[in-house]
């Protein structure tokens, strides 16, 4: 089946939702695609239980309003459960393949979001160690509390809602371990105060945590995890760390879940398949490069491809909403409210940069590794294997390391490990954005590929 739309938006998170809304309100016929069964993205993740939604998320009202408006909008066609497995340019149009056919457009808005960033450490592959996002998704998505004694750790403001969410739903959070200092925000106080809404959101979480008597520890990090005789998480080693993330002393905590989040990594796989220009952002993540109007840069100048939300830089939902709106307007060639939106975006961006300065992730994590530490979990490639490929086989760039050790070749295709490998190899920026051309964005079966009717 071939489906043509004036504007196609991929991703139903805050950025994609707003992009669809603004493009449709400006008169375009819009398709909104998401691989999930329901709209909302990471931020407005649904539970299976309708009435439960609001109780798990403070901002769900805003999301519900937006999603209701989109569902009611006759110019927007929603395609849930629709995973795009490949994207390419054919005859001056973007062709997006899903399992039953293809979408075709010349105006595309990418809003594919981000996934959790993990840092490797000895034992991070023990069941019970998970990302903070995964613990939150279990709660938001299925109403499940991940464990009986939970440690939330890592760095960044996102740890607060995770710990607060878990404890306010009856989970026992035995510690919130933050790598940044207790007063790391102080130098940025003026900039932070410009966003009173975010500050009060944060204070709300802190209040919840205090009520639940969750102990917060600063300048500390989980540096190893230990399994019991059944192979499940039993305890973690926590270190006091300096500003470079080097270990100064250690102690241990018993827990059955360690929910660890080191911020987010943009999911630029579709942008990469389309050959869009990428760059390395201030926080070191690889993002899609965009202009003032969120337009991405493509070798096919006749195409209008935009990117919005976390794929252009990690910045939270408010920034994603603003970028989505601007991308939607720009895709529709409209300028209504554009200046105001750009003002909002500028402010949100500044706030995002401030947070990145408050919660930097220093490269000292590399000193937590042992030779046996797994770096690529899909292919079980150890730190020692990467080191020896580096010293013996000249694998001093990420691509060579991959070819020689198979790191990044497995099921996740390097989504989890590629940034860490680049850090281990001290790769220059040029190496990090040297997108390896990957035509398959998400796995499909050979049987699906073999069908007729695909372009």
């Amino acid at each position: 089946m071939e489906l043509r739309h004036q504007v196609i938006v991929i991703g139903g998170g805050p950025a994609g939702l707003n992009a669809a809304k603004y493009a449709a309100n400006a008169g375009c016929n819009v398709a909104l695609l998401d691989s999930a069964p329901r709209l909302g993205g990471q931020y407005w993740r649904h539970t299976g239980i309708e009435s439960d939604d609001q109780s798990r998320h403070h901002n769900f009202d805003q999301g519900s309003l937006l999603m209701d408006a989109i569902i009611a909008n006759p110019r927007i066609t929603i395609y849930p459960n629709t995973t795009i497995w490949s994207a390419s340019v054919i005859n001056g149009e973007v062709v997006l393949r899903y399992k039953d056919g293809a979408f075709i457009t010349s105006r595309l808005i990418l809003a594919t979001g981000a996934y959790d960033r993990s840092l490797p450490f000895p034992g991070w592959d023990i069941p019970g160690v998970m990302t903070a996002g995964a613990a939150q998704s279990l709660l938001k998505g299925s109403g499940v509390i991940a464990g009986k004694r939970i440690v939330v750790a890592g760095s960044g403001p996102f740890l607060l809602p995770v710990a607060a969410g878990l404890s306010s739903h009856g989970g026992k959070v035995v510690g919130l371990i933050e790598a940044a200092g207790k007063f790391a925000w102080l130098p940025e106080i003026l900039s932070l105060l410009q966003n009173p809404a975010k500050i009060s959101e944060g204070l709300g979480y802190l209040l919840t945590l205090r009520k639940a008597k969750v102990e917060m520890r600063f300048k500390q990090a989980v540096i190893s995890a230990h399994a019991d005789s059944d192979g499940l998480l039993e305890s973690i080693t926590v270190a006091n760390i300096d500003a470079e993330f080097h270990i100064t002393s250690t102690y241990s905590i018993n827990c059955d879940v360690a929910a660890i989040g080191w911020g987010f990594t943009p999911d630029t796989s579709m942008a990469g398949a389309l050959g869009l220009k990428e760059e390395v952002a201030a926080d070191g993540s690889v993002v899609v490069a965009v202009d003032e109007n969120q337009r991405a840069s493509s070798a096919h100048s006749e195409l209008h491809i935009f990117a919005a939300g976390e794929i252009t830089g990690i910045g939270g939902s408010a920034l994603s909403l603003a970028e989505g709106a601007i991308a939607g307007l720009a895709a529709a060639d409209s300028r209504t409210n554009l200046r105001d939106l750009k003002k909002i975006r500028r402010k949100a961006r500044r706030f995002a940069l401030t947070l990145q300065r408050v919660y930097p992730i220093a490269l000292g994590w590399k000193s937590w590794l042992t030779p046996e530490t797994i770096i690529c979990r899909c292919e079980e490639v150890t730190h020692a294997a990467i080191q020896s490929a580096f010293t013996e086989l000249d694998a001093d760039d990420a691509r060579s390391a991959k070819l020689m050790t198979r790191c990044g070749m497995g099921m996740c295709q390097g989504r989890i490990c590629s940034r860490n490998v680049a850090d281990l190899l001290d790769s220059p920026d040029a190496d990090r954005i040297k997108g390896v051309y990957r035509p398959i964005i998400s796995p499909i079966t050979l049987g699906e590929l073999a069908q007729d009717g695909l372009l």
């Binding site: 393949r97 694998a395 020689m404 099921m411 035509p439 398959i440 499909i444 050979l446 073999a450």
Partner: protein, 384 residues
Amino acid sequence: MNSNPDAIIIGAGIVGATTALSLTNAGMKVLVIDRGNVATGTTSAGEGNILVSDKAPGPELDLALRSRDAWFEIQEDIGGGFELEAKGGLVVARSEDGLRSLRTLTAAQRIAGIDAQDISITELRALEPHLSHSITDGAFYPQDAQCQPMLAAAHILRATKARGGKFVSGANVTAITTNDGAVTGVVTSQGTFNAPVIVNATGTWAGQIAQLAGSALPIAPRRGFILVSAPTRKIIFHKVYDAEYVANVSSGDADLQSSAVVEGTQSGTILIGASRERVGFQDGIDFEILRILARQAIALFPILADIQLLRAYRGFRPYAPDHLPVIGEDPIFKGFWHNAGHEGAGIGLAPASAQLICDGIFDRPSFMNPTPFAPARFAKAAAS
């Protein structure tokens, strides 16, 4: 003081690496130069098949037979590390015609010294339980082997360095200097290097390097796609392909040829290759080709329909008009040796090709007559 190497090898793919090792083992001081890193050219796209099964009797088969054994000698010599495995190849016939030509081929191959076994349906099933029930005939080639080509090139280069060889990566060769009909050195983005012997092992780009010296080689790219599955339990045990593949390999047609070659690897993924078409260095991906490969693979192994495809990638095989590699001294410049154009068999043929080059440079008899591979053959063809 003379710190110049005895020989410079341009290209750190499998052909350059094996050449460097051969020359080093023969006592030369070598310098390997590549504009990228080790195995960043076509070698990184190769499936690593070391085949005798897909060749009809002739000089290439002689080269392949020697090379197959030379692979195991290299493993002995440098200690392995590149997943070399004599897994065996299975060629199946899917039509009466296909079967007739397969039987003719195996008969001729046996005379040429290949262990080519015509096998019964029971043996076929025992070798590959998941093979389609519509397939009833085939031939088994126990000599067919496989390696991981990137690791092979890297380990061979590592051993070469341990024995005194040097490797400079990231050095693009931009000129070749000559004096009085002989090469004297190369100019690169990282400086000039001099040596009385220069080996052009730049695969698909060998024509450009020949041109830098003022010579010529008619080597062009032949594109190929490969599908890679998600890791699965072991369901495919050998390298399995359709008898039609042999015809495709030697086809002179520019259009797309494809017949799936299916194999399981040590890492649990299944590789499905490989299409062949001459479209220049065309980028991007042609989904029709991916679909054809998927269909052909499923026709061999219906069980593959439910296996997930994880990646697809392409490479450009270096091919010469007569589909034979180019191995030997340049007809114009002394000391300028070509070892390139191995098309879809460069991994398999590399060690023996390196040996031919080495014996040529030392001007001594080799295991076979190298004339069919001589670069001079093109000059003659052009003249006549």
